[in-house]
Amino acid sequence: MNLAVRCQDLVKTYDTGGQKVTALNGINLEIEAGELMMLVGPSGCGKTTLISVMAGILDQDDGSCEVFGENLLNMRSRDKLNFRARNIGFVFQAYNLLPSLNAAENVSVPLIINGMKRVEAERKAISVLEHVGLGERWQSLPSQLSGGQQQRVAIARALVHSPRLIVCDEPTSALDHETGHNVMTLLKDVALHKDRTLVIVTHDARIFDFADRIAEMDDGHIIKVKDTK
């Protein structure tokens, strides 16, 4: 078994105005490479905290989280940045595209962060935009695109630097049913392959069918992992 993510006894607590809130309370989870894992559960159950820890943008208080065999907590901050830049792709609920950059420029950002020259990065970004069906719209600003198109640009941005793990936070919740379905089809067809893992946080039941496994969370725990294959 080729593991992409291994979380053991993960604990994360937030201090909210003097009150401790435990977001992750002893999470144990393994995700295989090439797998599409969905994290589902009610609001505040710790889904987003868990993918933040997996993506290396949040440190846990206790336990370990290995991503492709690397323990992120032990990494020096520069190494963690480089690890994130090379290995992690992000898709957000609100797309989070830079509004003053056109589609190609937005998609090229991860490549530029990884040190590629701008012209070359934009050329590659356009080719990835063609893969997601937006080759003709590479010059459009986010404000000139529909919600579904913006999410496709965000997917292209998450894919362009060939990361091994893509974390998606509610990628369809801002979209109507048909567009959400199209976005998930695209994610599964274009983003997922044997070396790349997708972890999707959602409570959009309409897309559960796309998952290989679904981990149900509640109150900082994983209460059930369901195999849907």
Binding site: S52, I57, L58, R84, F92, V109, P110, D169
Partner: protein
Amino acid sequence: MNHIALKMLMGDKSKYIGIVMGLTFASLIMTQQPAIFLGLMTRTYSFISDVGLPDIWVMDSKVQFVDDIKPLQDTELYRVRGISGVEWAMPMYKGLLKARLTDGRFQTCNVVGLDDATLIGGPPVMLEGKIEDLRRSDSVIVDIDGARDKLGKPSPIPGGKRIPLKVGDSLELNDHRAIVVGIAKVSRTFQSQPVVYTTYSRAKSYAPRERKLLSFILVKAKKGQNLAELTRRIREATGLAAYTQEEFKTLTYEYFMHNTGIPINFGTSVLLGFIVGAAIAGQTFYNFTLGNLLQFGVLKAMGTSNWILLRMILLQAVLVGSIGYGLGVGLTALFGHAMRHSILAFRFPWQLLIFSGAGVSLICVFAAMISIVKVIRLEPAIVFKG
């Protein structure tokens, strides 16, 4: 990432323009107000600059500035001439006298009396006539600004422009006839009174009767003389004050600096310009960064280091700073150019560019710093907070 930083900055046009406008305003105030201040201060000693030939000015020891006339006895001139190292020493009268114009009005004039024989201390540029024409009887030379304005004749059309005084016209100085034989260009003085040149002896006849009328003794040092040494000898031998030209300018300049509210007034304007500019630019730049915090968070999550984000913010600050500074300085230069023929005092030396540049840089550093602190402290996990 520089390209992304610039696109982020210019993408939000209203904030971008707001920051640039704030910096332009600050730069304009910090350049234009000191330029007017320097122009005014230069005018305080412009008369000394115009009288270029002498090395040393000798005067009563109580004189505080160039217009603070405390007359000497004529015999002092001969004592100065007798001091070793003095090539020549010439008398100069300087005083405010009332001129009666052809239309019956009175106008206070700055009357300068030059040595009858040599005419040393005369106007720097003659526009009409020659300085030697002062040797003709009752002759005076007036400055062009005075001739055009305060000494001009009233227009025959009510409300019309004054008719400039010209060569051949006459005026009355203390009941004495004075014929204009020349028009000169002189630097504007602090008081902006018309300047009337005549000979020393004629100036004494124009002036009210007083025992002492000699205002200054203009001294030329012999070749190779140490001026500091010569001024010391003059002071010791006569008990009078003796200053080199630069020392006399400094004395005058410092008098105005310490005894008038001018530096405080202009200093307050400059400080206000700096504070308002810093507040506008700092606040707008900070708001711009706050508005883009999520975008910085996305970049951070995707692997951009704090150092690169810091460089991006600095680049944005440098760009808006340079544009604002350029516009402010450009507007000041245009202002100075537009006002070059007016009465407004304006002096724009290169040092002023450094001064306002430093001020604008300080504002940009301040604006960038408060934004940088916010971005560096930013948790990249913010990207998942809707």
